[in-house]
């Protein structure tokens, strides 16, 4: 099962798991899974059922977010590469990231050719260097310890969201590196 495999590689239950599809799912499969889950979880379809409206709302929002990313070729590519941030919704940024990811993917490919196994930390370091080449590096305005790990407004979060955030943690670390380098 694909989902099992995903849990194995630790890359998160992720948007793919939210929609219950494999990483190789076609656009039609993404759409079909989304519609079936929407039918099941949209609050309009759950009137008078034991699950609370709040629960339905949350589940639907997760499904919606996953669909929004996976149904869009560029966003999906970013997400697969671990760079998608739901807040980076500007079209321009998605485009920019898209180009960047292409470059990174080619770098990864050349890395593979060298048959050298890089650790995640090494890859992140490389990425940081690349990002600094791309943007104009300057002193971070924020103390280094302030923004390094994903910071969240947990006040609203329930356990499920926290869980999904933990699972998607990895995706955003790289994003931050990039974001940090280009926004100052």
């Amino acid at each position: 099962m694909v989902t099992q495999q995903q849990q194995h590689d630790g890359q998160s239950a992720s948007y793919y798991a939210v929609l219950g599809i494999g990483r190789g799912a076609s656009l039609a499969e993404v759409r079909s899974a989304y519609r079936k889950l929407a039918m099941k979880w949209h609050p309009d379809r759950r009137r008078g059922q034991p699950w609370g409206a709040e629960e339905a709302n949350r589940r639907f929002q997760q499904i919606q977010e996953a669909y929004q990313v996976l149904s869009d070729v560029k966003r999906r590519k970013l997400y697969d590469a671990g760079f998608y941030n739901p807040l980076q919704e500007d079209e321009e940024e998605v485009e920019g990231f898209d180009d960047f990811v292409k470059e990174m993917v080619s770098l990864m490919a050349s890395v593979r050719k060298e048959r050298k196994q890089y650790s995640l930390e090494e890859l992140q370091k490389m990425l940081l260097e690349m990002a600094q080449d791309l943007g104009s590096p300057s002193q971070p305005r924020w103390p280094a310890d302030a923004g390094w790990c994903p910071r969240t407004s947990n006040w609203f979060a329930d356990d499920m969201e926290r869980e999904s955030r933990r699972k998607t943690h990895l995706h955003f670390t790289g994003m931050e590196l990039f974001g940090r380098a280009t926004y100052h």
């Binding site: 039609a28 519609r35 609050p43 409206a53 339905a56 929002q61 807040l87 924020w142 407004s153």
Partner: protein, 644 residues
């Protein structure tokens, strides 16, 4: 005698539920459902065949405006059909009611067998006729268009409701036969109908409420059950402030709004159902089938809406919506000014004869526009009764020329909607044209041309599609299921306008972007602009402008207990939540420094909180507080990574 046949001696339909409809009992029942507190301590009471405005005082009924989201649970114990929401479309010009009858959607007819009823309320002197006020749905009276235009009737309430007297649409309504007065100070306009040669004041909500009472009673008599829940269609461009006004009018009429549904999304639901049925008959299965994309163009007398929907497997997903206040009324106005360039000065004094001739001209122009849908030129012959006669020919080309601005706006809306939904003309499978103005040849060719289609989608009645969709939604949202699967439907709505807050310098920062699927929940972190700032104003706006002045002020509140810190370091979390019933709640509060925990209890505010005088409040806030309570954004990479 059937229980639900209205009898003159009985007080109200609601009272008929009582086994012994003696007066005091009936009245108390009545006060819970159908007594409408009106301004000036009047109460509007519905009697089976007439409405009376009586000035007796009753205990003030608290408005129970829309606690939509909390309607599950207790309602469910009753039989499903008892609570089945009906669909109502109150158009600028016409209105209709539809209901799921257990197998399909059925449009109700009034006693004159009309499915489309004229939207107006006639005010007449109660002392002489006892018929005040009554509208187009009324059983007894069928007013001629001439009477409706006599100044005694209020119509076009959909164009007036929830607007301030600075609104250009309100100003444009001043050429209507009834009185619309504006003082241009950002408050509710003054409107009045002519009763016994006196201009009697009313409000658009009150007029809508009176009209809804008629519709409600008509439906109750026909369906032989009390009606409480409704799905009402609204234009895409209605802001939340206008929506609240519509909900309030419904509450005054004893109706509970289950959903306010943008008109093209109601059409989209009907389309989804038709596609579903088509695929079932083709493939004999419930398979989700292939996705179909439709562009819906809806233009009635008052509003123009465009929406795109992707549908498959009974799910209608709204991709984008655009709308504006543009419709047959504007086309009519253009034609009137073309026929009579000095229209304004001729009718500014509002004497009875002038009003009458203005009415006659309106009727003639409207008729000409209708005929131009099938003819290339029409003859206009009208005796205005004041010694002037108008005899002339109006050509199609002339008509198109005077309405060029209207067509340009239509074009712009369609292009914007396509761009928002990231669709090219080639991606669209069907073009659906609905609403009265979609019969205008120029508009048809324009929409089809932009979508590169030869012909429009068939199988939908242009005037009934929206109300049919609303009734479908009513059945779905009431939790009705159908063994044949024809109610296995879902509309995934999107929010047509962005929602956000004001930041330092008067900029607007959207938190929920337009066309976000709802239910939605998004949050953002803001920070202080002053050293040691302990309080911050959260000023909520709706709209697309980059600066707050261009948008609609929804309300404001103060976040307190911000920890003492240099400017730019404290964190204030602002979260916006729209539930499935489209209710907007804003949560905000300060975080403990360097943590993701709240510093003190957060605030939860349901928006809008404002009534009138939007502009004033925003200006007054700035005047009183300057930038002392301002917030500003923080860099994106420091925003929470996972929203919800």
């Amino acid at each position: 005698m059937p229980l639900w046949v209205p009898v003159r001696s009985q007080v109200a339909p609601a009272a008929c539920l009582s086994p012994s409809p003696e007066a005091p009992r009936a009245l108390s029942l009545f006060s819970s459902s159908s007594v409408f507190p009106l301004p000036n301590s009047q109460c509007l009471v519905w009697r089976t065949d007439l409405l009376v405005i009586s000035s007796f005082r009753m205990a003030e009924q608290p408005y129970m405006v829309a606690s939509d989201s909390e309607t599950t649970g207790d309602d469910k114990s009753q039989s499903a059909f008892h609570d089945l929401a009906i669909g109502i479309e109150v158009g600028t010009s016409k209105c209709s009611i539809a209901v799921w009858n257990g197998a399909q959607v059925e449009l109700l007819r009034n006693t004159r067998k009309q499915k489309a009823m004229r939207s107006y309320v006639m005010f007449k002197d109660d002392t002489s006729t006892g018929e005040v006020p009554s509208g187009g749905a009324s059983n007894k009276t069928a007013y001629e268009e001439k009477e409706i235009l006599s100044g005694s009737a209020i119509f076009n309430m959909k164009r007036l409701i929830g607007r301030a007297d600075t609104d250009p649409i309100v100003h444009a309504s001043k050429n209507l036969p009834f009185v619309v007065q504006t003082l241009d100070i950002g408050v509710k306009p003054f409107i009045a109908a002519l009763v016994n040669n006196v201009w009697r004041s009313t409000t658009p909500e009150e007029v809508l409420a009176i009209f809804l009472v008629e519709l409600k009673t008509m439906a109750e008599v026909q369906l032989k059950r009390p009606i409480r829940n409704v799905v009402l269609t609204i234009p895409v461009s209605f802001n939340r402030f206008q929506q609240i006004r519509v909900e309030r009018a419904c509450t005054m009429a004893g109706l509970h709004v289950l959903r306010l549904m943008p008109e093209p999304t109601a059409v989209a639901l009907l389309y989804a159902q038709q596609q579903q049925q088509q695929q079932q008959s083709l493939h004999g299965s419930m398979g989700s089938g292939c996705e179909k994309v439709a562009l819906i163009f809806n233009m009635g007398a008052g509003y123009c809406d465009v929406a795109t929907t992707a549908t498959a497997g009974g799910v209608s997903q709204i991709k984008a919506m655009q709308g504006c206040t543009l419709g047959g009324e504007d086309i009519l106005k253009n034609v009137l000014y073309h026929l009579l360039p000095n229209f304004d000065s001729l009718y500014s004094n509002r004497d009875m004869n002038k009003i009458r001739s203005m009415g006659l001209l309106r009727i003639a122009a409207q008729d000409a526009i209708h005929r131009l849908s099938t003819q290339s030129s029409v003859q206009i012959n009208v005796d205005l009764g004041d010694g002037t006669k108008m005899q002339r020919v109006l050509h199609q080309s002339e008509f198109e020329e005077v309405n060029r601005n209207v067509f340009e706006i239509c074009e712009k809306l369609i292009k914007l909607c396509l761009a928002d939904s990231k669709l090219a003309a080639e991606d669209i499978n069907d073009v659906i044209l609905v609403g009265g103005c979609s019969r205008i040849p120029k508009i048809r060719s324009l929409v089809l041309g932009l979508c590169k289609k030869e012909k429009e989608y068939e199988g939908m009645d242009a005037l009934e599609a929206a109300v049919t969709g609303a009734a479908l939604e009513g059945a779905v949202a009431s939790g009705i299921t159908d063994p044949s699967g024809s109610l296995d439907m879902l509309t995934i709505q999107a929010t047509p306008l962005s929602l956000g807050i004001r930041v330092h310098g008067g900029g607007f920062v959207p938190i929920i972007q337009r066309n976000t699927a709802i239910p939605a929940r998004k949050s953002m972190i803001f920070t202080t602009t002053q050293d040691g700032q302990t309080e911050a104003l959260i000023v909520v706006y709706e709209g697309e402008g980059k600066m707050v002045e261009e948008n609609h002020l929804m309300g404001y509140f103060k976040v307190t207990a911000i920890p003492l810190a240099p400017k730019g370091t404290a964190e204030i979390s602002v979260c916006m939540d729209i539930d499935a019933a489209n209710t907007l709640r804003v949560f905000a509060g300060a975080m403990m420094l360097g943590t993701d925990r709240a510093n003190s209890p957060f605030f939860e505010v349901r928006m809008p909180t404002l009534d009138d005088a939007h502009g004033w409040c925003a200006q007054a806030l700035v005047k009183t507080h300057g930038s002392a309570l301002d917030l500003t954004t923080i860099p994106k990479e420091l925003q929470p990574q996972k929203v919800q």
